[in-house]
């Protein structure tokens, strides 16, 4: 784009490098970290910081270079910021659910082997809580 000022080009370049570096670090964490609960951290940072920086770079580029406002990026980032915690929560629930049905499957992390979920802790799945445990509405 010929119309972009030099500082705008530097700004957009810095945002692109920042976002791509965060996405790369998030995927590297996905490879490197030892257990699933720790692996969940990496990609969520890649989503919020990495894609956030890339989408801001895109908004800035189309505004400063071509003089037009684009709002699709805002929609994409809003949608991603809303959905990323939900999908991470669902994946963690799947992990706990499968851990309960295959005990001993947990990999040891830096803090040792994670404790298996107790039989009373049914919050991880969508089952109704067992009677007599915290969270059942019968005894309240």
């Amino acid at each position: 784009m010929s119309g972009a000022a030099p500082w705008a080009e530097w700004l957009v370049s810095a945002l692109i490098v920042l976002g791509a570096a965060f996405a790369l670090i998030g995927s590297w964490g996905l490879v490197r970290l030892p257990s699933l609960m720790e692996r969940l951290h990496g990609p969520t940072k890649a989503t919020t910081l990495g894609l956030g920086a890339l989408l801001i770079a895109s908004i800035a580029w189309f505004q400063l270079g071509k003089g037009m406002w684009t709002t699709h990026e805002l929609l994409v980032s809003l949608f991603l910021f809303v959905t990323a915690p939900i999908s991470a929560n669902m994946i963690a629930k799947v992990h706990l659910h499968r851990l309960r049905h295959a005990p001993g499957a947990a990999e040891p992390g830096p803090a040792g082997t994670p404790a298996a979920p107790s039989e009373a802790a049914d919050w991880a799945t969508h089952e109704a809580p067992h009677l007599g445990t915290a969270g059942d509405f019968e005894g309240d």
Binding site: S27, V31, H72, E73, L80, T83
Partner: protein, 93 residues
């Protein structure tokens, strides 16, 4: 085409996101659990959205963002559907 700085930044961005996709593929093959594979697929969707955004900047066209928005929606629905199936054995109860 644009200046040299933005070209170099875009090249770095494409390379970094491509490398991130390769790492996600490794985790997808390696597992070891099903939750890891869902997480790897979810992260691949995120990285591909980043690639589409970079391609939109490189081409200077706004049409790439409809694709990014669609992919964000479909990726989220796919992740939740897979996790729900593993949790409940059913997706729509």
């Amino acid at each position: 085409m644009s200046g040299a700085v933005i070209t170099a930044a875009l090249a770095f961005g494409f390379a970094a996101l491509g490398l991130a996709l390769v790492m996600n593929l490794w985790r997808l093959f390696r597992g070891p659990g099903l939750a890891d594979r869902i997480l790897a697929l979810d992260t691949m969707v995120i990285n591909v959205i980043g690639l589409i955004v970079l391609a939109g900047i490189a081409h200077g066209s706004g049409t790439a963002f409809e694709a990014a928005l669609l992919l964000a929606m479909v990726g989220f629905v796919g992740t939740v559907a897979y996790a729900k199936f593993l949790l409940r054995g059913d997706i729509i109860e």
